[in-house]
Amino acid sequence: MYNPTVARLTYRAVLGRRRAAILFILPALLLAISVAVRSFNGVDDQIAANVLGGFAIAAMVPLIGVIAGTGSIAPEIDDGSIVYLLSKPVKRSSIIFTKLIVAIAVTMVFSAVPTLIAGYILNGNGQQIAIAYTVAALVASIAYSALFLLLGTVSRNAVVIGLIYALGWEAFFGTLVPGARTLSVQQWALALAEDIGGEGLIGSDVGLPVAVVLLSVVTVAATWYAGQKLRVLKLAGEE
């Protein structure tokens, strides 16, 4: 299923574009905030949880997911260079699967790893907060990558739609409408973090079993559908 050549091309495409700067800027910002918070406030579990939940999980992970998920396929579809992958005896599903693995790896490296480091800077993993949010970031990386990879396959405006979802739905709308929070990757991931972290510090609107089921279903369904869309992707129409 995993095609190393497709992976190599995808890594270079995702990390080689100017957009990739965001991949470095957001984690750097998180670490800078963490260092500042720690030096002004000292160790505070609640503040640590607020920073990781409010910035790392609510904003950084979905944004990096958008860059990595859409970036691993949308530019190739946009400029038509994907024709060089499609004109090969390689299964479409294995192209999508490989790109998903790349998107997940990139999202994890640029979101979960900094989250872990930030957690240790903020309170030295007191109350398991660093680990809890890192697990949330890892799990969210998988679901976001699958969702945004699908988005990159079906829409030419994948980045814009991705940003609207990541910032609008996950971060803003979710705080106003309680129902919307049930359908949020962020809340599903936080359900796992809630289970790991210290009592009362991390909250989620979704129960753990529901979160695990929804995360799995979304990831598998999005990946499968992206594979289907790629099979019938039309490259023509420019005449």
């Binding site: 038509g80 024709v83 490259l235 023509a236």
Partner: protein, 303 residues
Amino acid sequence: MTAITIDHTSRWFGNVVAVNDVSMTIGPGVTGLLGPNGAGKSTLINMMGGFLAPSTGTVTLDGQPIWRNESVYRQIGVVPEREAMYDFLTGREFVLANAELHGLGAKQAQAALATVEMEYAQDRKISTYSKGMRQRVKMASALVHDPSVLLLDEPFNGMDPRQRMQLMDLLRRMGAAGRTVLFSSHILEEVEQLASHIEVIVAGRHAASGDFRRIRRLMTDRPHRYLVRSSDDRALAAALIADPSTAGIEVDLAEGALRIQAVDFGRFTQLLPKVAREHSIRLLTVSPSDESLESVFSYLVTA
């Protein structure tokens, strides 16, 4: 022997019909797909390359449907018209990636780069390549698995005359080796120089097929034009006009020749030498002046 068969195939985009009930078979040798811009050539090539589903009809490779069938790419090599490639790679990396996707390696990639004479620039980034260089690397990527069918969409665009000659030579050799080579073009000279067999597409319809000189002869409703020089043009003209196979003769003083319009091709070609002999006129030049692909094409387009 590998052939692509298009059977009663149409393709429309919304209300626009791009390809209208076309049937043709592309077999071994070099075939030129000719048509004005926007005639439906790219749509047709995209269907043959498996990048577009026919709205109706079928497009098959030796009986196998091409649409949604990845296995056909073991036999098909595609050179797309679009410029976009993986610009951040070097030429060598790009062709190697294409080889690997076929389950091949560096050896085949190097051979393909040698075939298109791009070894000298293989370690430069594609983003620094000229249009002709890009075109040749695209060719290398399509040739890397030694395909029996090669589909090229406007391959000569942006090439300088020397590169054009080289590519034509390469395609000619591939055709002579029994491969099925199909290229599209809207430039008549390109098609005329490279392909004796042409398929003409005009406004989405299959307008003609075959050797273009034969296509011309089948156009019986168009008088055939000849340029004739002889030892006595006026005597020849007088003798020819008496026969019903000749519709008109003009004495072109500037050229020092006769411009003859013949309505009956077969009869005229027998008549001309006979009349000349009977009147002891020496024929110096007899050349068909509208049997070039250009005139055939303009007849088809304006028909």
